[in-house]
Subunit: 540 residues, 2 copies
């Protein structure tokens, strides 16, 4: 292993396009724009945003992406070569690609003769013309053209002459990059390495690699191609993608950077690798994989006493890379101790020095354990965790006391009114004042949210600046059917701050209520809003 | 790729031992005995059952495993070499290994000098004696000894002389196999291949390989070692194991057998690969990974119109191996990017031949597109999709007509009753009969579910056999805060069938209701329940 810096390798992320081909994956335009921003700051060289010819959502994305100021990333639009037997100027797909207005256009074409005759149903000659002319058309419009040679390895193994001819066509058209694709994911690393090296020797265009994980070796295939000379690696965050997924950039990146010494992203960004992986998991609503290499919750988890003290003395004896280099952390699975020390560590972050020997702190530690067992997860709901600590220590003023709420959702009333509609009534006290009010909403949680704000706004006008910016629901034990426990995460923003709160219950209304109340109380606490009356006396 | 039969490769399964080191994994003695039987029938050459010196559960397992009649597998007990500075005859760990009464004993020893001095805290010479004497002790008792050279690759890269000396010690002791272990999982395939080849050239004992997945390349590392001469592959089913897991035999096996032509298990057993993977998932209570190479639910799932018709004409154009060879099957997904041809293909699966030129089918296709735009996602809710098609064609009897429902969730009633609680009232018609009933539940959706069943059960007693087995919620546009649209997926089971339904709304109650109604109607339709009265006349 060399720790020296060697060549640069360009990351080409296609999470927004090929990643969304994964079963059960969908990203809204908002999601895609947010991920584009993250990938750009992170230092990815190319971000493939979508296939403008294929659907209106991708068209909207490219329209709005034009307003996103990018630091490093170049945005790419993806599409096929022109149709058989037509001119580039008349091709609607190529027109849509140009209209997307991206600096980079990625064109895919067929390298496998069987696909040309069976799937495209055209002649081998016409396919070469399609590649050459389409690439030239895009290059002529000032685009940086990435040519994705679909099914290249399968084609090369069956008809190397023809596969070669397609690459030459792309080169003649003026492709800036030629990317060898293992589209069906069936090729093994030794073949990827051999074939990529052969192509690299004979072709004077920079090479890229695009792998799928059908054989479980997409990461190794990408590494093998880089060793053989490829300098662009296409893949997705967390390996999202069709069938078994694309090559996982989250795993490829630290292997190339930390073990093989290539330059890929700015050094400090590597420490945001786990954050990047989690952000994508959140956006596609897939729980993060605890066993994910480098970034998973279990990736640096150690069991057993002797082993653990050895890890502490000399981490390299049991850890292949330092966890903090990839934004992860070592975990010790002797659960009790690690729980307490983590809680104390967090408390210190909030400026609270806790003595684990006092009864109040011991109770608190027990309570945290129990909540985690119930399904609380404070990583995305850290404001709730801070409130929990401060409440236990009597440090949170009782901004209000709930007396009760009632929520009604009706579909088709007795009078024939159409539904569904939701109404919430709420009764609470602020100091000695009783407030009883009602509000309707777009769904039950929205109604409850409206009623709570309506009740509190006259007393705490600052609430007007709080915006709920994200609302997430995860069912924790789906096997319990409609009686399952759910975890609700709410993200709230005010001015430039954001905070996340969490609630867990078998009742989604209750879970949402818990997260809502924390959202309001945390905001009021942080803004140092004084509660009317002498709250300091009563610590209800 | 060679399809010819080449050498035999011996699978060594350590799911029962190293697999249970995975976070959250535990297997009862019953589980382990059941898996031993499955692995034996399947054709695995060696099954490592546990570490008899480490815990009473493993001792019990070996006692009872003696009564399991094995066809092919040889059972192995796992343990360390003797303690420093003692004799083999006095070593409790070696005694426990012998007592396990297995034909095979696997001993692990240290290959990395740093571990000898830092973790074992003994001299380099004494470690060599420990290896040689312990192996000889077991071989002298008639055991087939597998020697696991822990941290071999890390040790070899830092102090090759010493790493070599440890292998020689095991050879001198009489080891039948020497297994090179990448214990920390940090080594990359090209190094595994180079080092294994060097050892194979210089050592006259058959080699094995044992990899961990910390770098995401454990499968590729195992394949590389076999190419370099290793003839035993250690791993676990589904890659279970400490941190990011062990090498996954489920992925390694078909790569070696179907792509590289090695003999591993009897030919027909390969078709039970998915069953093996699922059985282990069941036993360790982890949901099967849909994206698992070869055996995952999504591994042969195809999207997209043109693509799908090509797969059907010529499967090898889009599938790296035939799914049935590994016990899997091809699936066609109904998804966002689907065109008319996918809808028509799906309809055909349901026995419906649709003519895309008729107005009703054109309207249907437009409607599907619109629902997808709203956030419907039929992949996990295919029963809803089938209902949609059949309803459009007037093929679904109106089992009931909803007149209205009202749902109440209250926390802290005026009378001081504790909350939260949920109550649903429901009014519906079945034929000319009006039903008006109420039920409570564990949360609002559960209450609605109870009320609907209560209302319908007297008319459709078969409903009693329907069980809701999964309930999932996904917020589609979290940025809208509590007013976000949500998608609810419900999975229902009755007897041996399962079906998934979907509902989308800004109101989670409405979304759940839509999925619930589909769940009930689909079940009744499939069970060919006759609706009371003459539904065939009215197609409401």
């Amino acid at each position: 292993m060399s720790a020296n810096l060697r060549d640069a390798v360009y990351l080409y992320d296609t999470t927004l396009r090929d990643g969304t081909q994964g079963e059960g994956i969908s990203l809204s335009v908002e999601d895609k724009l947010a991920l584009l921003r993250f990938l750009d700051t992170f230092g990815v060289a190319y971000v493939e945003g979508g296939w403008p010819g294929s659907n209106p959502k991708d068209l909207e994305f490219f329209r709005r992406a034009g307003d996103v100021p990018l630091q490093r990333a170049r945005l790419a639009a993806f599409g096929s070569t022109r149709r058989p037997g037509s001119a580039c100027d008349d091709d609607p797909n190529l027109a849509a690609l140009l209209e997307a207005g991206t600096p980079v256009v990625t064109l895919f074409g067929k390298s496998w003769d069987l696909h040309v005759t069976q799937a495209l149903r055209t002649s081998l000659e016409e396919n070469l013309a399609m590649i050459r002319e389409s690439v030239a058309h895009m290059a002529g419009q000032g685009r940086e053209v990435v040519y994705d040679a679909e099914h290249f390895f399968d084609g090369y193994l069956r008809n190397p002459e023809y596969a070669w001819a397609t690459l030459r066509a792309a080169r003649e058209g003026g492709a800036r990059w030629i990317v060898l694709c293992d589209t069906n994911g069936g090729t093994l690393p030794h073949e990827i390495e051999r074939i990529t090296a052969e192509v690299a020797r004979r072709l004077d265009v920079p090479l890229g690699i695009h792998c799928h994980n059908d054989s479980g070796v997409a990461v190794a295939n990408s590494l093998a191609a880089v060793r053989a000379g490829a300098r662009q690696v296409q893949g997705t965050i967390n390996g999202l993608g069709e069938r078994t997924g694309n090559a996982d950039l989250v795993t490829i990146l630290p292997n190339l950077a930390l073990k093989l010494g290539y330059r890929l992203v700015p050094e400090p960004q590597m420490e945001r690798l786990q954050e990047l992986s989690r952000t994508v998991s959140e956006r596609v609503n897939r729980p993060p994989d605890p066993f994910h290499p480098f970034v998973g919750e279990s990736a640096f988890a150690h069991k057993g006493g002797i082993h653990v003290s050895a890890v502490r003395r000399q981490p390299e004896t049991y850890e292949h890379v330092p966890p903090e280099r990839v934004g992860n952390r070592r975990r010790v699975l002797v659960s009790e101790l690690s729980g307490a020390s983590n809680v104390l560590y967090k408390a210190r972050e909030y400026g609270l020095e806790l003595d684990p020997e006092t009864p109040v702190v011991r109770d608190l530690l027990r309570h945290v354990k129990e909540l985690e067992h119930q399904g609380y997860h404070f990583e995305a709901g850290e404001a709730s965790f801070e409130l929990l600590l401060r409440r236990a220590l009597g440090l949170v003023p009782p901004f209000f006391t709930l007396e009760g709420f009632r929520l009604t959702v009706a579909k088709g009333g007795p009078d024939g009114t159409p539904g569904p509609d939701a109404e919430a009534t709420i009764r609470l006290r602020v100091g000695s004042e009783r407030i009883h009010t009602a509000a309707s909403g777009n769904g039950p949680v929205n109604a409850l949210d409206h009623a709570l704000r309506k009740a509190l706004l006259p007393v705490y006008p600052t609430l007007a600046s709080f915006r709920l910016v994200d609302y997430k629901v995860r069912v924790l034990d789906g096997q319990a059917g409609t009686a399952a426990r759910v975890r609700v995460l709410i993200e709230t923003a005010a001015d430039s701050t954001r905070w996340g709160t969490v609630g867990v219950s078998t009742n989604i209304i209750e879970a949402s209520w818990l997260a809502l109340v924390d959202s309001v109380e945390y905001g009021l606490m942080k803004m140092q809003v004084e509660r009317p009356g002498n709250w300091a006396v009563s610590t209800g």
